[in-house]
Amino acid sequence: MTYRVGVDIGGTFTDFAVLDDANKLYTLKVFSTPTRPGQEVIDGLRALKKRYGIEPSKVSYFTHGTTVGVNTLIQRNGAKLCLFATQGFEDVLELARLRMPDVFSLFSLRTRPLIDREHVIGMRERILSDGSVETPLDEDQVRAAVAQARAYGVSGIAVALINSYRNPAHEQRIKELIAEAAPELYVTCSSDIWAVIREYERTVTGVINAYVQPRMTNYLTSLQKALRDEGVSSEPQITKSNGGVMRAELGKRACVDVLLSGTASGVTGASFVAKLSGFGNIASLDIGGTSADVALIIDGKPQFGSGEDVGEFVLHVPSISVSSIGGGGGSIARVDDQGVLKSGPESAGSEPGPACYGRGGERPTTTDAFVVCGFLGQAEIAYGAVNIDRAKAEAAIGTLAKKMNVDVRDAAESVIRVAVSGMYAGMSKVFARHGTEAKSFTLMPFGGGGPMIACFLARELGIETVLVPATPGVLSALGGLVSDTKNDFIQTVYEMLEPATLAALESTYATLAERAMDWLRKEQGHPGEPQLTYSADIRYAGQSFEIETPITAEWIKKRDADSIADAFHNEHQRLYDYCDRKAAVQVINARVVIAAANPKPDFPLRELRKHAAKPDRTVSVYYGGKVHDAGLFDRAKLEPGATIEGPAIVSQSDTTTCVLPGFAGFVDGYGNLILKDGTLS
């Protein structure tokens, strides 16, 4: 028997999902060790051996998502760097794209760059937009700049020059010169990381990569060693923002590709579970103590984009789109001067956390309101790591009740209503941006707080069905396990789409495909069948934004401009409700994605035995201004075919599902709990 292990390292817990050759799933949770990254993996492997008898030497595949990169960025404790930019353009990071984060506020400030202007050195060189060299590189000046960088005491240099997307020669030469003069320095060239037009976006991508590189490298190196020491012989894989995986070794260079590691694999996991159970359109809802994130899966496919927020920064490499819609269970409620109840944006975070956790928090949070209404605290949560103190929750909510001059339970219910309506507004925006309606989606909650709030939010959005996966706590870990090996390649083209330019386009794609194959075979060492996906970023001439349009290898080969243009027009029609088939069309970037499948588990569909489940006991919950009797169920005992009627509470070790009055639930053949709102339709 061999085992495939997926790990997701979160802020508080690290989740393990393990599949054996017979597709049996084992799950495990251990505490994360943020001060000793990698230790939680060792702890987990030992616990797996102890609890399930899984020998490390029998681990045939190991993949994990890490927060090391993203935490380095958020906490701003990355490398001290220099930026080598083209002379005359040294302010590229400070200027960014000018637009302010809050356009109403006179006090709005842009994010402080990761490299101060002081440490930006202008290079005497210039390449033009056609790739020709106007001013040759002054190599003596480069050497002097390297000496200066050393004198600053930096550990790395990011190199990003104007028009290097077209001709990377000067960036590459600078890299060589740095290697000669200062081999100890890390170097990132913008043209190596993401060779795309738009100097700010390319520069900041390179800078972020350089900024997290030393920490990522140390972390991955120590993890590789620890795994070897534990006896895991297979090479560890790391999950990527694009929903794929790659060898951990490659993560030491392509650091920027793994920033959204865990978030992306959560969505991959959600889409895997949804597909298995026959759901096409899913809104995944991941709610933790401090965050509430939404991703849309349309026709079984996660949505991709570039422009995802990571802390104060925007990520410009392809990533699974995830939007923040609020502050999660720790959001603090307050009554403003006009007597209006507000929820967030302030959060009690994980320290001290909600009042009911008894860790010193005193201000009322969403989680406290759930306790007061009786939805939480009826059974053990978070593997017994947290004890719910109901009296503390009531005291905290009581301060609001007094100001509002209502009963504490009414105050609590109001807190839930306001928190939910804030999330409603956030989620509506996500649907609106995709030009779609909430009604055509199923809500899939996970994370500690998702299943708690899902029915409330679904009812507000007019969503009929809520799908609570069998193992909501390990969706991200499972996502990593089912991910394909995958990488993105891009080259800026910037040509009109017309017969004369197609030969060049064909050769661009050929080069990209060759690089992609090299990556898969040589760098990744994956023997599997390669899947090459072609697309182009296209726009109408004169537009300032482009649309990624899927195209086929055949159109490229046949130099079929019409089919490519048609695909773009259709895509434009789909996204923007109109197109102009007579207008001139411009290809900005050529893209190739290479993927190779990794084995997928084949979860058995268990037989349904239709029966009304029996609650362990009956508890009181407060909803709609009334006390209701609610059945308290243990998720572990709910068999396929079991049905329950709301109001009910379904408890499991990592989350609690609140089933509101009017909802009816049943357990499907994969163990998913499916809740349907009977008050709709």
């Binding site: 000018l98 506020s105 209503r417 306001v418 609106a432 030009g435």
Partner: protein, 680 residues
């Protein structure tokens, strides 16, 4: 349409309390925001023009049956129209039926539209036959015909030259498109497909708003909805009044100037006497310039709460109270006084196309009053000029004509009471994105030589004003037309406060440092020839607090960042830097010396304004406006220009000299005296 006395009475009652469960109110606020966001998404997503996508010069919102906007999207679209009151324009249509959508683009009908490129729509929303709300919104069309491409120019003198104007009328009647009207509109514009595309997008947004309102009415019940939207206005009003109550009662006066009241003209003064009493404010703008014979007039119809008069308030109050609900309720505690036939209340047919330049300066005037009232809480002046540069040139090899917007020029934010101003853009000018250098170079046959933050451009201070941007580029083709609309602040600088110095003025120069050097000042349109190198620098934000109080280490840090030069550190901050280190002794001595010279005033206006006010003190300008106001509207601008020409070489104009000059100028026109005598 009858709005119903009962509804009005209910609205009245809500002035007192909010008249609705306050939990329900917050839920309704969230849903209204989501509805407005959905409208804006629809519009943004389906609009055709790049202009809409890049500048977000549009609005969407929901209004009460009385036309008061109660919901606007957050972080989407323009910040200027959130307080728009559609009441008057709604009243200009005799009756409404389900499926109607109304339109106007006339700046002189109802004063919702403020220049002809803005197409405004409003759609009545009926629930069981009862009118319960309106979807409202506007979009700025790149061109609506008229004398010049893009329809806007300072040179225009009558609204008739500024493109086609649609009076309030029905675009859809019971769901049926008025296609004859559309054909008339499109026949009169330069890029018909784009306008039609954008109009369709705006119609789609109106329909999204209707759908969302009906969903809300269904979900909460129509009574709750009806009362709730009034309560949202009252809530915003109460928040605003609570904030006003923290402003000490009293009168606060501030004035600022536009560099030129017409192409190459004299300054135009905007003046505000802000009278704060309890929880309400009177804005007396009557000392502002008379109506101009250029397109810089702001059409308000004399409406006492016109949104364009209060944009400064939206920015300032949102900054001071970040969770304030921004809607028309915010405008209720304000009462604006405007002189008929003035730049802020022009008479038909004055041109109004470039009102945004004036409206931007007007925000500075509001900020200036608030700064005196709340000296610890308000920032110094932001750069104050928001301009977009366009280039029309041709490819030297192929001859292909290229027209493109190359970059916005905004300038720094004002220094805050607790932080330096933001660099490059900020304050009330933070909504535009720049165009990447690489995109400009591949799209337009020109070469960008440099694009950077201008050292020493931020007003010196305990907190430094935000730096301006400098763009230098070279053109290669003959007759390349460079357009830079809305340029200002080359003469009158963004002011500093509480010892902080004014930000540096903007400048625009061709072939600098060569025999062919030419200073372009505020030029809108310039024709460049092959090899010309153009440098344009925006203005810097004002500083806050004395620069002598800025820690020497912070000044040294700025020097290291290239934000301040060694010379600037010495001359403006009194910090002497030698070999990259602060010379403590020399700094102490220099700062002690400089402290003796420091002024006392709340504001530092910078040299441009000081020089002007030496010639034209406030009292003299007051007297000028008083004299001009006695003359017919059509004479005022003409006489002002004559008087300024007459006093061109004066070094100090007091009241006596002014009256003498006025008498002299007027004596040339006996018809004026006859008219005045007849009036007596």
């Amino acid at each position: 349409m009858t709005t119903g006395a009962a509804t009005a009475a209910k609205a009245e009652q809500n002035e007192q309390g909010l008249g609705i469960d306050k939990v329900q109110l917050q839920v309704l606020a969230d849903h209204s925001l989501a509805a407005a966001d959905a409208m804006a998404s629809t519009l943004y997503r389906t609009a055709h023009s790049t202009f809409v996508k890049e500048t977000e010069d549009f609005t969407c919102g929901l209004a009460t049956p009385q036309g008061q906007t109660f919901a606007a999207p957050k972080g989407f679209g323009s910040t200027w129209f959130v307080g728009l009151d559609y009441g008057k324009v709604i009243g200009l249509i005799p009756s409404y039926e389900e499926g109607d959508i109304c339109i106007t683009s006339d700046p002189y009908s109802g004063f919702v539209c403020t220049h002809s490129p803005d197409i405004h729509l409003w759609k009545p929303i009926f629930h069981d036959g009862e009118l319960i709300a309106f979807s409202v919104g506007h979009i700025h069309n790149t061109d609506v015909g008229g004398a010049v491409p893009a329809s806007l120019s300072r040179t225009l003198t009558e609204v008739h030259q500024e493109g086609i104007r649609i009076p309030p009328t029905k675009l859809f009647r019971k769901g049926e498109l008025n296609s004859e009207l559309v054909e008339v509109m499109l026949t009169n514009v330069r890029v018909r497909d784009q306008n039609w595309g954008d109009l369709k997008a705006l119609v789609a947004a109106m329909n999204t708003g209707e759908r969302k309102v009906l969903e809300m009415a269904g979900k909460f019940g129509v009574d709750t909805f009806r009362n709730g939207i009034q309560a949202l206005l009252s809530y915003s009003e109460q928040q605003t009044r609570a904030l006003i109550s923290t402003i000490p009662d009293g009168e606060y006066f501030f004035q600022d100037y536009i560099d030129e009241d017409s192409v190459g003209g004299s300054p135009c003064r905007l003046a505000l006497n802000m009278i704060v009493k309890g929880d309400s404010i009177v804005f007396d703008f009557t000392k502002s310039d008379p109506q101009l014979t250029s397109s810089l007039n702001v059409p308000t119809g004399g409406f006492e709460r016109h949104t364009l008069l209060l944009v400064g308030i939206f920015h300032a109050f949102h900054s001071l109270m970040p969770d304030i609900l921004v809607n028309t309720g915010m405008t209720r505690p304000f009462h604006c006084l405007l002189a008929e036939g003035s730049v802020l209340n022009p008479q038909f047919p004055a041109a109004v196309g470039m009102r945004s330049l004036t409206a931007t300066r007007l925000q500075d005037v509001v900020f200036g009053c608030l700064s005196q009232a709340l000296p610890d809480r308000m920032p110094a002046a932001p750069a104050g000029s928001i301009s977009i540069m366009n280039v029309l040139t041709s490819d030297p090899e192929t001859g292909r004509r290229v027209m493109a917007a190359i970059d916005p020029l905004i300038g720094g934010g004002g220094a805050m009471p607790f932080s330096d101003g933001s660099n490059g853009s900020g304050g009330n000018g933070g909504f535009l994105k720049n165009t990447p250098v690489e995109i400009n170079e591949v799209e337009v046959p020109l070469r960008i030589l440099a694009y950077y933050l201008t050292p020493d451009s931020g007003g010196a201070g305990r907190y430094r004003g935000g730096l301006s941007t400098t763009l230098i580029f070279k053109v290669f083709a003959p007759h390349s037309v460079i357009t830079a609309r809305n340029r200002d602040r080359t003469r009158f600088q963004p002011w500093g406060v509480r010892g902080g110095r004014a930000g540096k003025a903007s400048s625009y120069v061709v072939n600098e440092g060569t025999p062919k050097e030419q200073n372009l000042g505020n030029t809108d349109i310039f024709t460049a020839q092959p090899g010309d190198v153009i440098r344009i620098t925006s203005s810097g934000g004002g500083g806050f607090g004395s620069p002598l109080d800025r820690p020497a280490e912070a000044v040294l840090h700025d020097v290291r960042q290239h934000f301040v030069t060694v010379d600037g550190a010495r001359s403006e901050y009194g910090v002497v830097i030698v070999d990259g280190k602060v010379d403590e002794a020399a700094t102490k001595a220099r700062r002690a010396e400089m402290r003796k010279q420091e002024g006392e005033g709340h504001f530092d206006y910078g040299r441009g304004r000081e020089a002007f006010e030496k010639v034209w003190p406030k009292e003299t300008y007051d007297a000028l406006i008083e004299r001009l106001r006695q003359r017919p509207v059509s004479w005022r601008f003409f006489l002002k220009q004559r008087v300024f020409a007459h006093l061109r070489d004066a070094v100090n104009v007091d009241a006596r000299k002014l009256h003498a000059a006025m008498d002299h100028v007027e004596s040339e026109f006996p018809q004026l005296r006859r008219k005045a005598e007849a009036a007596e």
